[in-house]
């Protein structure tokens, strides 16, 4: 491992020239109604991991998109090894040695890993693809950086974590000396995060320059050498990581102290609102993804569904929403059998749903904020009379919701695609909670959401619990599950391995159950890490 020769000739082990120093100076980027970057200075050096922190909408992604040639800065300079660069497209940035891992992967599912890597590359054999050579190189790179993935597998067969490794391999193959990772950990399991960190450390040791974006402070503290915090498009400060701590960073981000501790009065249990009985749901690959699950959620309680990603949570949530057929078993909503009812019927009965894929499933991104806020109830008063939409009412209510839920947007007419990820989540929350739901199913409600907003969303969920809503919280974030749930059900390979009392559950106990060890059962699996 350590025999790796450091590139004294200025080259990385991948053969690419190192980027000794990348500097962004005085970057300004404005969008209609938003100053997304306001004279931002940012730099990263070879061998360093520089974390970029900031609330949702602080301008992190915008800054990185300029570095990757996706946007042109309104003002400011980008210098690589002291030479000013003008990127007109990502191709220019890639040529300069910059790679970017977007939060939404850009792979072609019907192609193999190797084909995806080769996509859009010049081949040594002219128009014929030289896939064998690409494959050889992919194997080398994956060996070198511990990026385990089968080069011949089709991308659709891969789990999210593996797809991300393919993205990194793709960037390395194209000769990235500087790699931007925009919220790479949001979709990863804790184990996958560790694997990723090992890869990143190795890359840094080899002389790559890395930029790492995350909302999770403990990750930033664990992986980075320096941290820069953005707020409202401006740099609040840059700190060496070993000289700072969680609370200072949180304070810098939000501008006030953040406490992720909640008042949680004892649950006032009401009647059973959501009853799941012996539910079996098929998965995408022909197997049973949900196997014989039974679960009840009462009015006024939060039931957390914990589990490592890919253990049937998504399929269960989709079945509850009415989007995935049920093979056997029943779902009762407020006492009514809705097992085979379409989504509309469930919504009409008072069920709200916060989907995991918020951009794809939760919003129509070309629609305005206001139009998205009425997605479910547009056909009812006050949003419409007979078949005519009532624009005054829609505007008035939307403006109130945007204010109430702190959605950062220039106006309610702004298309949702222009909002930052966390603000889209707040918008969905505003829509779903303002309907005063009887049952709320929340899938990963704070994924990719900044700590201020996370705190806010948690408060809202607890308020909703007080108001008597039955809440099923599906989350891979154990801290979140433990902070909010009255009871915690753990799902493993499609089965509920146990239901434990929320406040008294320990991380260790839950961790074991998430690995498939039944409650009180024997320690028959190898040790697992969290």
């Amino acid at each position: 491992m350590s025999t790796q020769v450091l590139g004294l000739d200025g080259r990385l082990p991948t053969g690419q020239m190192r980027i000794e120093e990348m500097r962004m100076v005085g970057i300004v980027k404005r969008f209609p109604g938003v100053l997304a970057n306001d004279h931002v200075d940012f730099d990263v050096r070879a061998g360093e991991i520089h974390a970029l922190l900031g609330e949702n909408g602080a301008g992190k992604t915008t800054l990185m998109r300029q570095l990757y040639g996706l946007y042109r800065p309104d003002a400011g300079k980008i210098l690589i090894n002291g030479v000013e660069q003008h990127f007109n497209s990502p191709q220019d940035a890639i040529r300069a040695g910059i790679g970017m891992i977007h939060q939404h992967f850009m792979l072609v599912p019907s192609l193999t890993v190797v084909e995806n890597v080769a996509l859009g590359l010049k081949s040594s054999r002219g128009i014929l693809l030289d896939l064998d050579r690409v494959e050889k190189r992919v194997r080398e790179l994956s060996e070198q950086y511990g990026l385990k993935v089968d080069p011949k597998a089709y991308v659709w067969q891969l789990a999210v974590g593996e797809q991300q490794r393919v993205e990194i391999l793709k960037a390395l193959y194209r000769g990235a000396a500087l790699l931007i990772l925009d919220e790479p950990t949001a979709v990863l399991t804790p184990q996958e995060v560790e694997d990723l960190f090992r890869t990143l450390r190795q890359m840094a040791r080899d002389g790559h320059a890395l930029i790492f974006i995350s909302h999770k402070l403990h990750e930033v503290l664990a992986i980075s050498d320096r941290v820069t915090v953005l707020r409202d498009g401006r740099v609040v400060g840059t700190r060496p990581t070993h000289e700072t701590n969680k609370s200072e960073l949180a304070q810098m981000m939000v501008g006030r102290p953040v406490i992720l501790q909640y008042e949680r009065p004892p649950a006032q249990l009401g009647e059973v609102r959501l009853a799941i009985e012996n539910l079996v749901v098929g998965g995408d690959r022909g197997h049973d993804a949900v196997r014989n699950v039974s679960l009840e959620v009462h009015a006024g309680e939060i039931v957390g569904l914990a589990g490592v990603s890919g253990n049937g949570q998504r399929e269960l949530a989709e079945a509850l929403a009415g989007l995935r057929p049920v093979k056997s078993g029943r779902i009762l909503l407020c006492g009514k059998d809705i097992t085979h009812e379409p989504p509309g019927a469930r919504i009409a009965l008072g069920q709200s749903y916060i989907p995991e894929e918020r951009l794809r499933d939760g919003t129509i991104k070309q629609f305005s904020v206001a139009d998205n806020l009425i997605l479910e109830d547009h056909h009812k008063p006050p949003f419409s009379r007979k078949i005519f939409l009532d624009f005054n009412a829609i505007r008035e209510i939307s403006e109130r919701l945007v204010r109430e839920y702190n959605v950062k947007t220039p106006s309610v007419d702004t298309p949702v695609k222009n909002l930052s990820g966390g603000n889209i989540q707040k918008l969905i929350l505003a829509r779903e909670l303002s309907r005063r739901p009887k049952v709320l199913i929340a899938s990963q409600p704070t994924r990719g959401v900044d700590i201020g907003a996370t705190e806010y969303i948690h408060q809202r969920l607890l308020e909703q619990r007080q108001a008597g809503t039955a809440i099923l919280l599906i989350s891979e974030d154990l801290d979140e599950i433990r902070a909010l749930s009255d009871r915690i059900a753990v799902i493993y390979e499609g089965e509920i391995v146990g239901i434990v009392d929320g406040p008294s559950a320990t991380a260790e106990q839950l961790g074991l159950m998430m690995a498939g060890v039944r409650e009180g059962g024997q320690h028959h699996l190898e040790k697992i890490r969290l």
Partner: protein, 359 residues
């Protein structure tokens, strides 16, 4: 400094907006080169084109006459496209709309105009809707691709028309005269759409089409049904999550598309030809798609787009006669315009996206 970037952004936006319009002269220049190759004088040709389209009162009215079915079909195409479905079945829908309006008018030729005329328009519309509903339901129920099924429906309509106009619906006068031209008898007078300008073909259907454009705008942007159609067209998955029955609205979108093409057929029969004849659909089912796209899939944008293409259709006739180029050249010119407009639009969108798109 900030102001400068605002101005630059505005200039960029203006440029991207007029790019598709700039595409027309570019296409014309290429057309001129082709004319040179054909040893025709482009100056003479284009003068004839413009004169043919807008050179006299009569030619202006002719342009509007042609624009009318384009607009009606284009409105239907707009609704379908907004709902995320592609309706290639305009031709067939026009034909059944025209056939049924004709059949009704001829069967009840004693009825007063106040009843017969609106009824004929309505029946034409409904038949077109039916012709759209079949592919719509096939798509909703069985997932049949609407492009294929609407094309099949075109073939069915065409054969139906061939049969009816040679058999049951043929003008008795044609049999007597022994000429046997495949066309129906003249409609009763009270089923004719009134002419707006004497000595021209301009008829009340043009006003109807304009009113419809406004109604479609209101429908798509002011009503809950229009909202749903647009939601389904933009993101079917999210619409499904929100409880909107996606297949129902896709079927509805294509049915409404058919309704407008059917109306176009009825209007063409009652306003221009006053009898059903072969070739009445005149390719409007396809050129209406172009007009809709050129109008940015917006009902109001489709109005000028239809007039433009109506003018091209009329002017091209005159040009062809003036410089004696093969009629294929006119199609080529149309094709060039479409090609340039569509690709310039794609280019403009890409440009805008590169400049500031998010996600």
């Amino acid at each position: 400094m900030p102001q400068r970037s605002e101005i630059k952004r505005m200039l960029n936006q203006v440029f991207e907006a007029i790019l598709p319009i700039l595409a027309v002269p570019v296409a014309l220049i290429i057309g001129a080169l082709i004319l040179l190759l054909l040893r025709a004088n482009p100056g003479v040709a284009f003068t004839a084109l413009v004169q043919g389209a807008v050179g006299s009162t009569f030619s202006v009215t002719q342009t509007l006459v042609k624009a009318t079915p384009l607009l009606l079909v284009g409105l239907g195409i707009t609704i379908a496209f907004r709902g995320g479905v592609i309706n290639i079945g305009g031709e067939g829908q026009i034909i059944v709309g025209a056939l049924s309006a004709t059949a009704l008018a001829l069967s009840f030729s004693q009825w007063p105009g106040a009843i017969l005329l609106p009824l004929c328009l309505l029946v034409g519309t409904l038949s077109g809707a039916l012709w759209g509903a079949v592919p719509g339901v096939l798509k909703a129920r069985l997932g049949v691709n609407e492009i294929l099924s609407t094309i099949m429906m075109n073939a069915i309509a065409l054969q139906l028309s061939n049969y009816l106009l040679r058999g049951p619906m043929i003008d008795p006068a044609e049999i007597e005269a022994g000429t046997r031209i495949a066309q129906s008898a003249l409609l009763p007078r009270q089923a004719w759409l009134p002419r707006l300008v004497p000595q021209t073909l301009l008829h009340a259907g043009s006003i109807l089409a304009l009113v419809m454009a406004v109604l479609v705008y209101i429908f798509l942007w002011r009503t809950t049904i229009g909202y749903r159609i647009r939601a389904v067209g933009l993101n079917a998955q999210a619409a499904r999550y929100a409880g909107i029955p996606v297949p129902v609205y896709q079927a509805l979108a294509i049915t409404l598309g058919g309704a407008f093409a059917g109306l176009a057929g009825a209007v063409e029969v009652m306003g221009v030809q006053r009898r059903m004849l072969e070739g009445l659909s005149g390719g409007y089912g396809f050129s209406g798609i172009v007009a809709a796209l050129f109008g940015n899939l917006h009902p109001l944008g489709t109005i000028p787009a239809s007039v433009l293409f109506g003018g091209l259709l009329v002017g091209a006739d005159k040009m062809q006669r003036a410089v004696q180029v093969p009629s294929a050249f006119v199609d080529t010119l149309m094709g060039l315009i479409v090609l340039f407009v569509v690709s310039s639009r794609i280019w403009a969108v890409r440009r805008a996206r590169r400049r500031e798109t998010y996600e």
